[in-house]
């Protein structure tokens, strides 16, 4: 081998090795905060992670103060937050999934239309909208006219946050399906609607469902928009027209109350477990339904 060539080869190999080491190192650094967060939340949260947490509502600050002084565990839990999150997020799913599916189908099937381009652009804008702004909008649209903070208002805010994610995942999933599925369906003499519901949506189920789960896990932890809409409550509430609590709202309340601050960690731990589970299910679904 030419000596010069060998020299340049050696230096390139060296560079290659250096970059490889850097990439590994930085990936490792990036993981550190995540592990620290998990460690913090678990080590501080497990103390109050007991049956009370799931069966009792938030105690009053005074009760907690007395318990703290006597060295007893905090006499209460976050049942109102769990049920509230289920109610608000559940309602938001009910609103956003059908709407998001239809918009996604429209966008993937009408790629060249001007109106579709506009909708697509607006979806991107909505995706980038700060959550506090969405909260204020939901306040103006729902809380003000109805005269009360409510779970419904919270759901409207979360719907606006979930919508662009569901639209995008539906659109992208459907776009990835081979056009031959659609053509084969239509070639059998079926209507367009029938092809969409019997072939395209089932074929894209994995991707679409994963998108929905990720959207849910994303809004589960949203706090700002709920402060302006659902407000919070210290009782279990299933009435959509009444103020309702939610897990992230409770975390904020606990943080502001020195007597209850212990519960911040247990509530965070539960929220993390929920989100972890959703992501895990999303992964399994994505793998199982791959075509």
């Amino acid at each position: 081998m030419n000596l010069n060539l060998k020299k340049s080869m050696d230096s390139r190999k060296g560079k290659n090795k250096l970059i490889y080491i850097l990439v590994c190192l930085f990936s490792f650094f990036a993981m550190i905060p995540l592990f620290l967060i998990l460690w913090d939340v678990i080590s501080k949260g497990y103390k109050n992670f007991n049956i009370n947490l799931f069966t009792k509502v938030t105690p009053s600050s005074m009760d907690a103060l007395i318990a703290n002084m006597n060295g007893d565990p905090i006499p209460g839990g976050i049942l109102n937050g769990i049920t509230g999150s289920v109610l608000i997020v559940g309602l938001a799913i009910l609103f956003s999934v059908p709407l998001g599916l239809f918009i996604g189908i429209y966008l993937s099937e009408n790629r060249d239309k001007k109106f579709a381009g506009l909708v697509s652009y607006l979806t991107d804008l909505l995706q980038g909208m700060p959550s506090i702004v969405i909260g204020i909008i939901a306040y103006a649209w729902v809380v003000k006219p109805l005269g009360s903070y409510s779970a419904l208002a919270g759901s409207v805010a979360l719907t606006m946050m979930m919508l662009p994610m569901i639209v995008r995942s539906t659109e992208e999933t459907l776009k990835m399906l081979p056009v031959s599925y659609k053509e084969a369906g239509l070639a059998l003499g079926s209507s367009y609607t029938s092809v969409v519901f019997n072939i395209l949506l089932p074929s894209g189920f994995g991707g679409i469902f994963t998108g929905i789960l990720l959207a849910i896990s994303r809004v589960m932890g949203e706090t700002a928009p709920l402060m302006l809409t659902a407000l919070g409550a210290s009782v279990v509430n299933w009435n959509v027209m009444e103020p309702t609590s939610a897990l992230p709202l409770l975390i904020w309340d606990f943080y502001n109350d020195p007597n209850l601050v212990e519960l911040v960690w247990s509530t965070s731990l539960l929220l993390l477990i929920f989100i972890f589970l959703l992501n895990w299910i999303a992964k399994i679904v994505a793998r199982k339904w791959k075509i």
Binding site: D112, P178, S180, Y181, K182, E183, A184, G185, L186, A187, L188, G189, S190, S191, S194, V195, N198, I199, P202, S203, F205, I291
Partner: protein, 252 residues
Amino acid sequence: MKPVLQMKDVSVSYTPGTFAVKNVTTDIYPNTITAIMGPSGCGKSTLLRAINRMHDLYANIKTTGEITLKGNNIFNMNSMEVRRLAGMVFQQPNPFPTMSIYENVLAGYKLNGISLKKREKDEIVEQSLQSVALWDEVKDVMSKRGSFLSGGQQQRLCIARTLALKPEILLMDEPTSALDPISTNKIEELLLELKQKFTIIVVTHNMSQAARISDNSMFMYLGELVEHGNTTQMFTKPKNKRTEEYLTGVFG
């Protein structure tokens, strides 16, 4: 004998002013296999897809001229009806991925919202799979997904799915180009059987395939129908110089 399919001045354009198919006029007779051949990009598939109005799906494609199927102008018919009368088999086997083998055969009925009794379903499935010689191979794995089968089996499944709706004619767009020689041979034998009941139009850029299976051949070049006639005659004594050059390998 009356032609089952007639084309008169059929032109198709993807962009205004340029034609992928130019003024094709011809007749197709029942219970024959017609092979459309020609080099890539000559408009074979485009012509085939005009027959079941597949071009309707794409706003930029314009089809002009007249196509009559059993005496009815297809452009005056409902496109869904046209497609049920003119079944299509695609180049890539494409069984529906979320349906079982059984469901795939019945897909046309499901998609069209036609409800059948269990007994009728079983009968249609068995009959359709028998007619594509797939029944014995799959009768014990009916509940498996279509994608479980080999490529050749998948393609026969797709043919069965089309036949289940009892179409008048069968349009096939290079149905064997994605398959191995053994599967290809099976499908070719199958086509020779099927022409007892159906009229078949098959696009191919495999000349020997056209020679093996077709009764009549159409040779297309640059969007025009250069020659259409009896296959044996065309392969032995082509009327047109272009056809002769293509068949002897001067270009293609």
